[in-house]
């Protein structure tokens, strides 16, 4: 038995096997997110339910506050499971520095309005994103995706998939700047 040959073979194979084993622990479908920690891309979008024509939502108007930006579509099944969580938590923070926005992705307002009616309403505005420019600016892969933008204007966290009330509240409270009054 040639021990030298065996030793050399094993020595060459170990790093290869280790690399392959590491690769097996990774989820090939897990997509990288580069936005957290970066300045949130600015947006200036038309509000779908705008009472006045051309009512717009501008990110810069919320400096110092927390913005929850949720990308959704009426054809998105997973979006249905998070709809009530988003509406409920948005209601909880109404009148505070926390602002919820829905951004309609690859859809038409007529379908979105019907969806909202069927789901029992929505307590925050939905914005129109023609050409998916804002979606691409935020590095969107699909829907639903939710971005939490902190008071400093950076993206604090990106959540892929449906959000829950607990997750929404956790991240909002993490980002809110404490004030003198009770929250």
């Amino acid at each position: 038995m040639n021990w030298k040959r065996i030793t050399v073979t094993v020595a060459l194979l170990i790093p290869v096997v280790a690399l392959l084993a590491y690769g097996m622990t990774l989820d090939p479908r897990a997509l990288p997110s580069t936005m957290p920690g970066k300045e949130a891309p600015t947006f200036d979008l038309q509000v779908m339910e705008g009472a006045e024509a051309e009512e717009r939502a501008i990110l810069a108007q919320h400096q110092g506050g927390v913005v929850v930006l949720n990308f959704w579509a009426s054809w998105c099944l997973a979006c249905r499971s998070e709809h009530s969580a988003l509406s409920n938590v948005a209601s909880m923070y109404e009148g505070t520095e926390v602002q919820f926005y829905g951004v309609l992705y690859n859809d038409v307002p007529k379908n979105a309005e019907r969806y909202i009616r069927n789901m029992g309403g929505q307590t925050y505005p939905t914005l129109l994103d023609p050409g998916s420019r804002t979606a691409i600016d935020y590095g969107l892969y699909g829907v639903p995706e939710t971005f939490f933008i902190g008071p400093d204007g950076t993206v604090a966290y990106k959540h892929v998939g449906p959000v829950t009330e607990a997750l929404l509240v956790e991240w909002i409270e993490r980002l809110r700047i404490p004030t003198g009054g009770a929250s």
């Binding site: 290869v16 690399l19 990288p32 580069t34 050409g131 691409i136 590095g139």
Partner: protein, 153 residues
């Protein structure tokens, strides 16, 4: 009768497709041929976030279409192809590039196959050399009375 009904339905469907509102990307006027060639090239180098195994040039999704529109718009604004790629890398990570950059950990993708090829070639060379170094007299078929062309007297 059924065939006639089928063709009427097919014709109606074709009319509906043609009359359907086009996406903003489809409505965007094409750039000059040189720019379009660059759009096509860049789109072939970027991965579709939805259909992840194909480029945005080959992907049929609306998002891929919109991303091509972004490429076209940025090139028309005067940005270089490298700046356009950097825009997408900043938002999606290096994963968005179909061909990973040859730097850092990514070098393994480029270097490892070459190393394995050399190791394999070395193994094959040594094995063949060892086989060809065997003394023919040690081979079992070389003994006297073995199968051969000689005839007995």
């Amino acid at each position: 009768m059924i065939a006639r009904r089928f063709f009427i339905l097919l014709f109606a469907a074709a009319l509906a497709v043609l009359a359907a509102p086009r996406s903003i990307a489809a409505q965007q006027p094409a750039a000059d041929p040189a720019t379009e060639a660059t759009v096509k090239r860049l789109a072939s180098e970027l991965r579709c976030p939805v259909c992840q195994g194909v480029s945005i040039e080959d992907s049929p999704t609306e998002l891929a279409n919109e991303m091509k529109s972004v490429i076209r718009g940025q090139l028309q604004e005067g940005k270089t192809p490298e700046q356009v790629k950097a825009y997408f890398v900043e938002r999606y990570g290096e994963w968005i590039l179909l061909q990973p950059k040859a730097s850092g950990f990514n070098l393994i993708v480029y270097v490892l196959p070459l190393i394995m090829l050399l190791v394999g070639a070395g193994f094959v060379y040594r094995t063949v050399k060892r086989w060809s170094a065997v003394d023919p007299s040690e081979l079992p078929l070389a003994t006297a009375g073995g199968a051969g062309g000689g005839t007995e007297e």
